[in-house]
Symmetry: C2
Subunit: 362 residues, 2 copies
Amino acid sequence: MKRRNFLKASATGLAASVMAAPAIAQTAPAIRWRMQTAWPRALDTVHGSAEALAKRVQSLTDGKFEIRVFAAPEIVPPPQIFDAVQNQTIEAGHVLSTFYIGKKMAYAFDAGVPFGLNLRQQHAWLFHGGGLAAMREVFAKAGLIQFAAGNVGVQMGGFYRKEIKTVEDLQGLKFRIGGFGGVVMRKLGVVPTQIATADIYPSLERGTIDAAEWIGPYDDEKLGLHKVAKFYYYPGWWEGSAQITILLNLAKWNELPPAYKEAFEMACHEQNVVLIAKYDALNPAALKRLIAQGVQLKQFPRAVLDACYKATMETLDEQAKADADFKKIHDSWKVFLDESNSWFRVAEASLDNYRYAAGRRR
Amino acid sequence: MKRRNFLKASATGLAASVMAAPAIAQTAPAIRWRMQTAWPRALDTVHGSAEALAKRVQSLTDGKFEIRVFAAPEIVPPPQIFDAVQNQTIEAGHVLSTFYIGKKMAYAFDAGVPFGLNLRQQHAWLFHGGGLAAMREVFAKAGLIQFAAGNVGVQMGGFYRKEIKTVEDLQGLKFRIGGFGGVVMRKLGVVPTQIATADIYPSLERGTIDAAEWIGPYDDEKLGLHKVAKFYYYPGWWEGSAQITILLNLAKWNELPPAYKEAFEMACHEQNVVLIAKYDALNPAALKRLIAQGVQLKQFPRAVLDACYKATMETLDEQAKADADFKKIHDSWKVFLDESNSWFRVAEASLDNYRYAAGRRR
C-alpha cells in the first residue's frame, strides 16, 4: 500500500483525533505548485522529464506535494520564465540556464559553456566539486535556487543550407542559435538570431535564416529541419553538455517541509540518470533515420573549431573582466576543467576511442 | 519536520486510536535488513556509497526501513555474498556482478563486459534499452533481483612490475585480475589470480604476482601498490564501465511495501549520479599525486589492445554458444552496443577529443 493510502486510511479511521491535532496537518501540508517548461509538449524527452519528475514528487510525498506542469508558452514565453519564477507567477521553471545570460553571464556555467565540461564532468563539478553551491550563491541574489534535473549531452551543431568549409563561410551566416554560443559566434561574423521553436522551420525553409541548431537527432527529427537544410553538422561545441535546470523561487523553496525538499531532490536525481539514458538510447536510431532520408552528416572542419575555440577563450576572459560573479566561478571552474580533462583523456577517452575504431574495423 | 517525526507525533498523540487500528502498523512496518558490501570499510567511495544509500532509504521511509551496512568480510567473504543473499543470511549484497560469473557468465553484462558499454551507454541500455528487465529475468532464476546503484567508470589497467611492450610480454604474467577480463587474458597466456584485497600488496611486493589491477587512481592510491610496482597502465579494457549492483533476495524484495520499494529505487538512482561524480572529482588529483611519487603512466600498446580485443570477441562467441541466457542477452546487447557506438563517436567523442587536445595546446 502506498503511503498516501496509509494517510488516507489514517484520515478516515482517526478523523476525530486528527481534527483535534492540527499540528499534524501542518507537518504534511497539501502544496500545489505550477512549473512551466521551456519546451513544447511534443518533446517527450525534456518536457516528458518534467512531467515524470512532478509525478515522482507527488508519489514520494503521499500525494501531498503536487506540481502541475505546463508546456511553453502556456503561461509565459520561455524568455520570461526566469521573471515569472522570481515574481511567483509560477513557483518553478524547467529551463536551460543559458536562456538567461542576458541578465547575468555567470548563469551559463550552470547549463554548460562552449568547449566546457561534458556530462560526467558537469556532474562531478556540481555534486562533488563545489559547483552546485557556487551557482546557488549567484542564483540566490535573484531570489532563486536551481537544481540540476537531467542533461541532454553534447548536442548536434544544427542544420545548414550550405556547407561550412572555411572560417570565412561563417561570415554573415544567419544562424538560429542562442546562449553563449551566439555570443562567441558574433566574433566570427555570424549573425545569431533567436527564433521561437514554431518559427524555426518556416524561417529556414524561406531562407530568412541560413542555419538552425536545436537539440540532437531524436528531437531534431520532430522539427523536420532536415527537409529544408541537408547539411547536419557536429559537434555542438557551444556546450560541453547541456544541463537542464529547475529554477525555483527561493522563498517558496524555503517554505517546504524537509521531507518535501528531500522528495524533490530525489526526483531530480532520477532525472539526472534517466533523461540522458533516454536520449542516449533514442538518438542512435534517429541519426540513422535522418541519414536514410538524405541528410549529410558533417564534422565542423578543424580550422572552424579552432577559430571557435579561440573566440570562446577570448569571450571567457572578457566576461571574467566584466563581472565579479563570472570571474569567481570561472576561475575555480577552469582549474576543475583542466584537471578533469587530464584524467578523462587517460582511461575514459582512450578506451572509448579504441572501442569505436575497433568496432568499425571488425 | 521529517515525516518520521510526523509519524512519531502521530503515534504519541493518537496512541489510543493507533492501538485500535492495527492495519496502520501493517502498512508502515518497521523492517530491518542487512546488506554486506564487497569492499573494505576504508573505501569511502564504493563502501561509502552503500552507507549513503542506506541512510537515504531510512530517511525516505520515515525511519521505518533500516538497512544495516557491513563491510567485507564482516559476515561472509565477497565471493559468498551471492549465496548469502540467496539463502537469506543477508537480504542484500553490494557487489560487482562479474564476481559471480563462475555461476553464470551472463551476469557479466550487468557489471560490464570487456570493450563493452561505457557508463552513459550502460545507463541507456539498462534504463531505456531493455537491459534492466533482461538481466532481471536471468537473476530471478537464482531467486535474486538486481539494482544498478552507482558506477566506477573506466578503471585503470593496474600496476606492473615490468613494462608490457608486446603481446608476448603477457605470456606467463601472474596478474591479479578477476571476472571476464581474467577469462579473456588466459587466452593470451596470462595466469589470472584472484587475491583478497588485503593480500594484494604483499603478493606484489614479494613478486608472487607480477601485476595487479584494482580500481582507479583514488582507490588504488590507498592500497599503495605504486610503492612496489611502478608501471601504471591504462585503460582497464575489461569493462567499458564498472557498474555497481545491489543484489537483493527476490522474496524479501517482494515483501516490501510499494513505498519502501520506491524509496529504495530512488536511493539507487541518487548513487547512480553521485558515486561516479565523486570518482570523477577525486581521480584527477589522485593520478597527479601518484605520478608525483614516481609512477610511470603507460598506455597499453596498440598491438596488446588488438590481441585483447580479438580474444574478447572469441570469448563472447564461445560463451554465446555455450549458454542460452548468455546468447539471448549478448545478441540484443551487441546490436545496442554497435548502434550506440555509431552515435557516441559523432557528437560526444568528437567534442571530447577536440577539447582534450586543444586544452593541452593552449
